[in-house]
């Protein structure tokens, strides 16, 4: 197997994993076709593209992925889902504000992320991880636009994001499990 073929297989495998960011219905309908189109495009770029186009290819794909996945996710939300997304952004912004005013203490920020994601997981138990991903990025990256570039390129900000994601994910999954448990119990009681 040539190096180019290995790169092609790895690229397609990585892209297949990225497709989990799209809504399940969209993914079920277009996953195979999207991987096929990605494979054709990558194959053409590796075979016929200039070095510059090969360098640009992952950037173009990242741009395409981020814009289309977020759009499809937002379009797939109903009114309740959209309300939860707005609430998650509000919680994230508040946690960011608290974090900014308590530079030495991390527990208030982590508590807000944990409780907020727990409540959202409780309200909307399907795909709870999305609430964690909707809250956490605000904490290291929210603020004035002027120093946004510095924060995005700062390893410290990404480390904070990784730290904040842990309680957010725990909270959202815990809320979701409790809600599902309550639902299950209610069904069992109803049947009995």
């Amino acid at each position: 197997m040539k190096g180019r073929d290995i790169f092609l297989h790895l690229g397609c495998g990585f892209y297949a994993v990225l497709l989990y960011a799209y809504p399940p219905e969209f993914r079920a309908r277009y996953k195979k076709e999207m991987i096929r189109a990605f494979k054709d495009d990558l194959h053409h770029t590796l075979r016929n593209g200039s070095l510059w186009s090969q360098i640009l290819f992952p950037l173009q794909m990242a741009n395409d992925f981020l814009t289309s996945a977020s759009r499809e996710r937002i379009e797939s939300l109903d009114a309740m889902g959209m309300s939860c997304l707005v609430a998650a952004s509000g919680i994230g912004l508040y946690a960011s504000y608290v974090d900014h005013h308590n530079a030495t203490e991390v527990y208030p920020t982590l508590s807000i992320a944990l409780i907020g994601s727990f409540l959202l997981g409780l309200i909307r138990p399907t795909h709870p991880c999305r609430w964690a991903f909707a809250i956490a990025p605000w904490i290291p990256f929210a603020g004035s636009i002027s120093n946004m570039r510095d924060r995005i390129t700062s390893p410290g900000a990404w480390a904070i994001l990784a730290v904040v994601l842990i309680p957010s994910l725990i909270g959202a999954v815990a809320g979701s499990l409790i809600r599902r448990g309550i639902g299950l119990r209610a069904e069992i009681t109803k049947e009995a």
Partner: protein, 128 residues
């Protein structure tokens, strides 16, 4: 959904949707074929990736602008896993209306002298 729908209610089209309709106007194409054609007809300025393309196709299928094709142009030469898409009558009508809308915008820009005047067969847009 497409039946009885006013084509003008779908205007204006996004550049990506309009270019996809143009790419499908002469023949049926599969996803990568559409990507290549859009890139060619816009001189590389619009280069939709798979996410953008299938997001647009999903909305266009729902609106009845395109449909999946039952026939394969050349089954022996082609990968049978590919799906082909073709433009519907509504899609053709809407793309014509969008082209007319853009033509009117260009005409208005010429009248305002933002673009140079052009004289072509049967059309004289010179001003002044």
């Amino acid at each position: 959904m497409a039946k009885g729908k006013d084509p003008r209610s779908l205007l204006p089209l996004t550049p990506a949707v309009f270019q996809i309709l143009l790419a499908l106007s002469d023949r049926e194409r599969h996803g990568y074929g559409i990507m290549q054609e859009v890139k060619n007809q816009t001189g590389g300025r619009l280069n939709p990736g798979p996410g953008t393309l299938y997001g647009c196709l999903n909305r266009m299928l729902e609106a009845g602008l395109v449909k999946e094709s039952d026939e394969r142009p050349d089954p022996e030469l082609d990968d049978e896993r590919r799906k082909y898409y073709r433009v519907t009558n509504l899609g053709r009508h809407v793309s014509r209306l969008e082209a007319e809308r853009l033509e009117e915008a260009v005409h208005a820009a010429r009248l305002k002298k933002l673009l140079p005047a052009v004289q072509s067969a049967g059309l004289d847009w010179r001003v002044g």
